[in-house]
Symmetry: C2
Subunit: 151 residues, 2 copies
DNA sequence: GCGGTTAGTTTCTTCAAGGAACCATCTACG
DNA sequence: CGTAGATGGTTCCTTGAAGAAACTAACCGC
Protein backbone atom coordinates (compact mmCIF):
# COMPACT_ATOMS: atom_id res chain seq x y z
CA UNK A 1 0.00 0.00 0.00
CA UNK A 2 0.87 3.56 -0.58
CA UNK A 3 1.96 5.41 2.53
CA UNK A 4 -0.51 7.78 4.12
CA UNK A 5 0.13 11.46 3.42
CA UNK A 6 -0.28 14.02 6.19
CA UNK A 7 -0.48 17.17 4.12
CA UNK A 8 -4.27 17.40 4.21
CA UNK A 9 -4.57 17.22 7.97
CA UNK A 10 -5.59 20.40 9.77
CA UNK A 11 -2.50 20.30 11.89
CA UNK A 12 0.81 22.10 11.44
CA UNK A 13 2.69 19.20 12.98
CA UNK A 14 1.22 16.80 10.42
CA UNK A 15 1.88 19.20 7.55
CA UNK A 16 5.47 19.72 8.68
CA UNK A 17 5.89 15.96 8.87
CA UNK A 18 4.49 15.70 5.37
CA UNK A 19 7.49 17.76 4.23
CA UNK A 20 10.28 16.49 6.49
CA UNK A 21 8.90 13.41 8.22
CA UNK A 22 10.56 10.74 6.10
CA UNK A 23 13.49 9.48 8.17
CA UNK A 24 16.39 10.34 5.79
CA UNK A 25 15.25 13.90 5.10
CA UNK A 26 16.40 15.56 8.35
CA UNK A 27 19.78 13.87 7.95
CA UNK A 28 20.08 15.22 4.41
CA UNK A 29 19.31 18.72 5.71
CA UNK A 30 21.91 18.25 8.44
CA UNK A 31 24.59 17.33 5.92
CA UNK A 32 23.77 20.16 3.51
CA UNK A 33 23.77 22.51 6.51
CA UNK A 34 27.35 21.55 7.44
CA UNK A 35 28.56 21.87 3.84
CA UNK A 36 28.16 18.39 2.40
CA UNK A 37 26.31 19.46 -0.73
CA UNK A 38 27.12 17.08 -3.57
CA UNK A 39 25.44 13.84 -4.46
CA UNK A 40 28.29 11.39 -3.91
CA UNK A 41 29.42 13.19 -0.74
CA UNK A 42 25.93 12.88 0.68
CA UNK A 43 25.65 9.26 -0.40
CA UNK A 44 28.95 8.36 1.21
CA UNK A 45 28.45 10.29 4.43
CA UNK A 46 24.89 9.03 5.00
CA UNK A 47 25.35 5.47 3.79
CA UNK A 48 22.09 5.78 1.90
CA UNK A 49 20.93 4.03 -1.28
CA UNK A 50 21.64 6.19 -4.36
CA UNK A 51 18.11 5.62 -5.55
CA UNK A 52 16.56 6.78 -2.25
CA UNK A 53 18.93 9.79 -2.06
CA UNK A 54 17.95 10.90 -5.54
CA UNK A 55 14.28 10.57 -4.65
CA UNK A 56 14.63 12.49 -1.39
CA UNK A 57 16.63 15.31 -2.99
CA UNK A 58 14.01 15.66 -5.70
CA UNK A 59 11.27 15.78 -3.04
CA UNK A 60 13.08 18.38 -0.91
CA UNK A 61 13.76 20.57 -3.96
CA UNK A 62 10.09 20.28 -4.91
CA UNK A 63 9.13 21.37 -1.38
CA UNK A 64 11.49 24.38 -1.73
CA UNK A 65 13.47 23.32 1.29
CA UNK A 66 16.57 22.73 -0.83
CA UNK A 67 17.64 24.22 -4.12
CA UNK A 68 19.64 22.56 -6.86
CA UNK A 69 22.47 24.77 -8.07
CA UNK A 70 24.82 24.34 -10.96
CA UNK A 71 28.40 24.97 -9.87
CA UNK A 72 30.25 24.31 -13.14
CA UNK A 73 29.13 24.81 -16.72
CA UNK A 74 31.40 22.28 -18.36
CA UNK A 75 30.68 19.72 -17.49
CA UNK A 76 27.37 20.79 -15.88
CA UNK A 77 27.51 19.72 -12.24
CA UNK A 78 25.04 20.28 -9.42
CA UNK A 79 25.08 20.76 -5.71
CA UNK A 80 22.33 21.37 -3.18
CA UNK A 81 21.81 24.33 -0.89
CA UNK A 82 19.35 25.24 1.83
CA UNK A 83 16.66 27.78 1.01
CA UNK A 84 15.45 30.26 3.65
CA UNK A 85 12.59 27.85 4.27
CA UNK A 86 15.07 25.03 4.69
CA UNK A 87 17.32 26.97 7.05
CA UNK A 88 14.40 27.55 9.37
CA UNK A 89 13.64 23.85 9.29
CA UNK A 90 17.14 23.26 10.64
CA UNK A 91 15.94 24.70 13.96
CA UNK A 92 14.25 21.33 14.38
CA UNK A 93 17.69 19.72 14.25
CA UNK A 94 18.92 21.85 17.15
CA UNK A 95 16.06 20.64 19.32
CA UNK A 96 16.79 17.05 18.28
CA UNK A 97 20.40 17.65 19.32
CA UNK A 98 19.29 18.84 22.75
CA UNK A 99 17.07 15.82 23.30
CA UNK A 100 19.58 13.42 21.77
CA UNK A 101 22.49 14.71 23.88
CA UNK A 102 20.41 14.32 27.02
CA UNK A 103 18.91 10.90 26.36
CA UNK A 104 21.08 9.05 23.85
CA UNK A 105 24.66 10.24 24.36
CA UNK A 106 25.52 7.95 27.28
CA UNK A 107 28.85 8.18 29.05
CA UNK A 108 30.77 9.18 25.94
CA UNK A 109 28.98 12.51 25.92
CA UNK A 110 27.65 14.47 22.97
CA UNK A 111 29.19 13.58 19.58
CA UNK A 112 28.90 17.16 18.30
CA UNK A 113 29.09 20.50 20.09
CA UNK A 114 27.46 23.77 19.07
CA UNK A 115 29.01 27.15 19.72
CA UNK A 116 26.71 30.13 19.74
CA UNK A 117 28.11 32.98 17.61
CA UNK A 118 26.75 35.74 19.83
CA UNK A 119 28.37 34.65 23.11
CA UNK A 120 31.04 32.27 21.83
CA UNK A 121 30.04 29.55 24.31
CA UNK A 122 29.28 25.89 23.79
CA UNK A 123 25.54 25.93 24.27
CA UNK A 124 22.13 24.37 23.70
CA UNK A 125 18.83 25.81 22.60
CA UNK A 126 16.09 26.56 25.07
CA UNK A 127 12.51 27.05 24.01
CA UNK A 128 11.18 30.43 25.11
CA UNK A 129 7.93 32.29 24.63
CA UNK A 130 7.94 34.76 21.75
CA UNK A 131 5.77 37.12 23.82
CA UNK A 132 7.24 37.15 27.33
CA UNK A 133 10.56 35.41 26.85
CA UNK A 134 10.08 32.87 29.64
CA UNK A 135 10.59 29.14 29.28
CA UNK A 136 7.99 27.59 27.01
CA UNK A 137 8.12 23.84 26.77
CA UNK A 138 5.36 21.47 25.75
CA UNK A 139 4.19 21.22 29.37
CA UNK A 140 3.79 24.99 29.57
CA UNK A 141 1.09 25.52 26.98
CA UNK A 142 -2.64 25.10 26.47
CA UNK A 143 -3.90 24.00 23.08
CA UNK A 144 -6.77 25.96 21.45
CA UNK A 145 -8.55 25.78 18.09
CA UNK A 146 -7.24 28.24 15.49
CA UNK A 147 -8.68 29.85 12.33
CA UNK A 148 -7.27 27.12 10.12
CA UNK A 149 -9.01 24.37 12.11
CA UNK A 150 -11.29 23.19 9.34
CA UNK A 151 -9.11 22.46 6.37
CA UNK B 1 15.24 -4.77 2.38
CA UNK B 2 15.26 -3.91 5.99
CA UNK B 3 15.29 -0.21 6.72
CA UNK B 4 18.52 1.38 7.84
CA UNK B 5 18.78 2.12 11.56
CA UNK B 6 20.33 5.36 12.74
CA UNK B 7 20.99 4.45 16.35
CA UNK B 8 24.65 3.56 15.84
CA UNK B 9 25.58 6.85 14.18
CA UNK B 10 27.73 9.25 16.20
CA UNK B 11 25.16 11.98 15.88
CA UNK B 12 22.43 13.03 18.28
CA UNK B 13 20.16 13.99 15.41
CA UNK B 14 20.44 10.49 13.93
CA UNK B 15 19.92 8.85 17.31
CA UNK B 16 16.87 10.98 18.02
CA UNK B 17 15.49 10.05 14.62
CA UNK B 18 16.11 6.42 15.45
CA UNK B 19 13.62 6.85 18.30
CA UNK B 20 11.06 9.22 16.81
CA UNK B 21 11.85 9.45 13.11
CA UNK B 22 9.17 7.09 11.80
CA UNK B 23 6.45 9.35 10.41
CA UNK B 24 3.51 8.28 12.62
CA UNK B 25 5.42 8.49 15.89
CA UNK B 26 5.36 12.29 16.37
CA UNK B 27 1.63 12.27 15.63
CA UNK B 28 1.08 9.58 18.23
CA UNK B 29 2.98 11.70 20.77
CA UNK B 30 0.89 14.71 19.80
CA UNK B 31 -2.34 12.84 20.41
CA UNK B 32 -1.26 11.36 23.72
CA UNK B 33 -0.07 14.85 24.74
CA UNK B 34 -3.53 16.33 24.17
CA UNK B 35 -5.25 13.50 26.03
CA UNK B 36 -6.07 10.95 23.35
CA UNK B 37 -4.61 7.97 25.15
CA UNK B 38 -6.53 4.83 24.22
CA UNK B 39 -6.00 2.54 21.33
CA UNK B 40 -9.25 2.97 19.42
CA UNK B 41 -9.26 6.73 20.05
CA UNK B 42 -5.78 7.00 18.59
CA UNK B 43 -6.67 4.76 15.67
CA UNK B 44 -9.76 6.82 14.85
CA UNK B 45 -8.18 10.23 15.28
CA UNK B 46 -5.05 9.41 13.28
CA UNK B 47 -6.66 7.26 10.59
CA UNK B 48 -3.84 4.78 10.98
CA UNK B 49 -3.82 1.02 10.40
CA UNK B 50 -4.45 -0.90 13.65
CA UNK B 51 -1.48 -3.10 12.91
CA UNK B 52 0.90 -0.15 12.45
CA UNK B 53 -0.50 1.63 15.54
CA UNK B 54 0.09 -1.44 17.69
CA UNK B 55 3.64 -1.71 16.38
CA UNK B 56 4.42 1.96 16.95
CA UNK B 57 2.99 1.96 20.48
CA UNK B 58 5.07 -1.10 21.35
CA UNK B 59 8.17 0.62 19.94
CA UNK B 60 7.55 3.88 21.82
CA UNK B 61 6.95 2.02 25.08
CA UNK B 62 10.17 0.07 24.51
CA UNK B 63 12.01 3.37 23.98
CA UNK B 64 10.53 4.65 27.28
CA UNK B 65 8.94 7.59 25.53
CA UNK B 66 5.45 6.29 26.37
CA UNK B 67 4.24 4.07 29.17
CA UNK B 68 1.40 1.61 29.07
CA UNK B 69 -0.88 2.03 32.06
CA UNK B 70 -3.76 -0.11 33.23
CA UNK B 71 -6.78 2.05 34.01
CA UNK B 72 -9.29 -0.62 35.04
CA UNK B 73 -8.76 -3.99 36.69
CA UNK B 74 -11.89 -5.73 35.46
CA UNK B 75 -11.70 -5.98 32.67
CA UNK B 76 -8.00 -5.07 32.44
CA UNK B 77 -7.75 -2.10 30.05
CA UNK B 78 -4.75 -0.01 28.99
CA UNK B 79 -4.01 3.52 28.01
CA UNK B 80 -0.79 5.27 27.06
CA UNK B 81 0.92 8.17 28.78
CA UNK B 82 3.99 10.28 28.16
CA UNK B 83 7.05 9.63 30.27
CA UNK B 84 9.34 12.50 31.31
CA UNK B 85 11.53 11.53 28.38
CA UNK B 86 8.50 11.66 26.10
CA UNK B 87 7.32 15.02 27.39
CA UNK B 88 10.67 16.54 26.51
CA UNK B 89 10.37 15.07 23.05
CA UNK B 90 7.16 17.05 22.64
CA UNK B 91 9.28 20.20 22.47
CA UNK B 92 10.05 19.04 18.96
CA UNK B 93 6.36 19.33 18.17
CA UNK B 94 6.29 22.99 19.24
CA UNK B 95 9.07 23.80 16.79
CA UNK B 96 7.23 21.89 14.06
CA UNK B 97 4.16 24.00 14.87
CA UNK B 98 6.15 27.17 14.45
CA UNK B 99 7.54 26.12 11.09
CA UNK B 100 4.26 24.64 9.97
CA UNK B 101 2.24 27.74 10.88
CA UNK B 102 4.67 29.89 8.95
CA UNK B 103 5.05 27.80 5.82
CA UNK B 104 2.04 25.51 5.49
CA UNK B 105 -0.93 27.31 7.03
CA UNK B 106 -1.82 29.45 4.00
CA UNK B 107 -4.59 32.02 4.16
CA UNK B 108 -6.69 30.04 6.60
CA UNK B 109 -4.11 30.60 9.30
CA UNK B 110 -2.87 28.21 11.95
CA UNK B 111 -5.20 25.29 12.69
CA UNK B 112 -4.21 25.19 16.38
CA UNK B 113 -3.17 27.95 18.76
CA UNK B 114 -0.92 27.64 21.82
CA UNK B 115 -1.37 29.73 24.94
CA UNK B 116 1.63 30.12 27.19
CA UNK B 117 0.66 29.47 30.85
CA UNK B 118 3.11 32.00 32.26
CA UNK B 119 1.91 35.06 30.34
CA UNK B 120 -1.49 33.88 29.16
CA UNK B 121 -0.83 34.96 25.57
CA UNK B 122 -1.18 33.11 22.29
CA UNK B 123 2.46 32.55 21.47
CA UNK B 124 5.14 30.61 19.64
CA UNK B 125 8.45 29.18 20.74
CA UNK B 126 11.70 30.93 19.99
CA UNK B 127 15.03 29.17 20.19
CA UNK B 128 17.37 30.90 22.60
CA UNK B 129 20.86 30.22 23.85
CA UNK B 130 20.99 28.38 27.19
CA UNK B 131 24.07 30.44 28.13
CA UNK B 132 23.36 34.04 27.12
CA UNK B 133 19.64 33.91 26.36
CA UNK B 134 19.91 35.51 22.91
CA UNK B 135 18.36 34.11 19.76
CA UNK B 136 19.99 30.87 18.71
CA UNK B 137 18.80 29.47 15.43
CA UNK B 138 20.59 27.03 13.16
CA UNK B 139 22.29 29.91 11.34
CA UNK B 140 23.73 31.21 14.60
CA UNK B 141 25.95 28.30 15.56
CA UNK B 142 29.25 26.69 14.67
CA UNK B 143 29.53 22.93 14.73
CA UNK B 144 32.45 21.32 16.60
CA UNK B 145 33.48 17.74 17.40
CA UNK B 146 32.44 16.53 20.87
CA UNK B 147 33.66 13.80 23.23
CA UNK B 148 31.17 11.29 21.85
CA UNK B 149 32.43 11.72 18.30
CA UNK B 150 33.78 8.23 17.87
CA UNK B 151 30.93 5.86 18.54
C1' DG C 1 39.51 5.77 -27.79
C1' DC C 2 39.85 5.08 -23.05
C1' DG C 3 39.58 6.08 -18.25
C1' DG C 4 37.93 9.13 -14.77
C1' DT C 5 34.46 12.15 -12.58
C1' DT C 6 29.93 13.24 -11.23
C1' DA C 7 24.90 12.67 -10.94
C1' DG C 8 21.68 10.18 -11.36
C1' DT C 9 18.51 5.75 -13.31
C1' DT C 10 17.18 0.97 -13.71
C1' DT C 11 16.53 -3.72 -12.14
C1' DC C 12 15.67 -7.01 -8.74
C1' DT C 13 14.76 -8.74 -4.09
C1' DT C 14 13.08 -8.27 0.38
C1' DC C 15 10.38 -6.26 3.70
C1' DA C 16 7.09 -2.88 5.61
C1' DA C 17 2.54 -0.25 5.28
C1' DG C 18 -2.10 -0.59 5.04
C1' DG C 19 -6.83 -2.68 4.87
C1' DA C 20 -9.87 -6.01 6.44
C1' DA C 21 -11.04 -9.69 9.03
C1' DC C 22 -10.33 -12.10 13.03
C1' DC C 23 -9.20 -13.27 17.98
C1' DA C 24 -9.13 -12.89 23.12
C1' DT C 25 -10.89 -11.32 27.42
C1' DC C 26 -14.20 -9.51 30.27
C1' DT C 27 -18.91 -7.70 31.44
C1' DA C 28 -23.91 -6.94 31.26
C1' DC C 29 -28.27 -8.65 30.34
C1' DG C 30 -32.28 -11.54 29.39
C1' DC D 1 -26.09 -20.08 30.03
C1' DG D 2 -25.82 -17.79 25.63
C1' DT D 3 -25.38 -13.48 23.25
C1' DA D 4 -23.86 -8.88 22.33
C1' DG D 5 -20.80 -5.20 23.25
C1' DA D 6 -16.43 -3.00 24.54
C1' DT D 7 -11.60 -2.79 24.18
C1' DG D 8 -6.96 -4.03 22.67
C1' DG D 9 -4.77 -6.01 19.92
C1' DT D 10 -3.16 -10.05 16.00
C1' DT D 11 -3.17 -12.32 11.53
C1' DC D 12 -3.45 -12.56 6.59
C1' DC D 13 -2.93 -10.73 2.11
C1' DT D 14 -1.68 -7.26 -1.34
C1' DT D 15 0.91 -3.51 -2.89
C1' DG D 16 4.52 -0.39 -2.86
C1' DA D 17 8.89 1.30 -0.93
C1' DA D 18 13.82 0.57 0.71
C1' DG D 19 18.08 -1.00 -0.39
C1' DA D 20 21.96 -3.12 -3.16
C1' DA D 21 24.20 -3.41 -7.29
C1' DA D 22 24.81 -2.49 -11.84
C1' DC D 23 24.18 0.60 -15.40
C1' DT D 24 23.74 5.09 -18.08
C1' DA D 25 24.87 9.79 -19.58
C1' DA D 26 27.63 13.77 -20.25
C1' DC D 27 31.88 15.88 -20.18
C1' DC D 28 37.06 16.18 -19.88
C1' DG D 29 42.07 14.92 -20.05
C1' DC D 30 45.53 12.32 -22.10
Amino acid sequence: MQRTHFGEMACSIARTLDVIGEPWSPLILRDVYVGITRFDQLQQELGISRKVLAERLKWLVGQEVLERKQYTDRPPRFEYALTAKGRELCDLLLVMVRWGDRFTAGEAGPPVLYRHHACGEISHVELRCSVCGERMNATDVDVLPGPGQRA
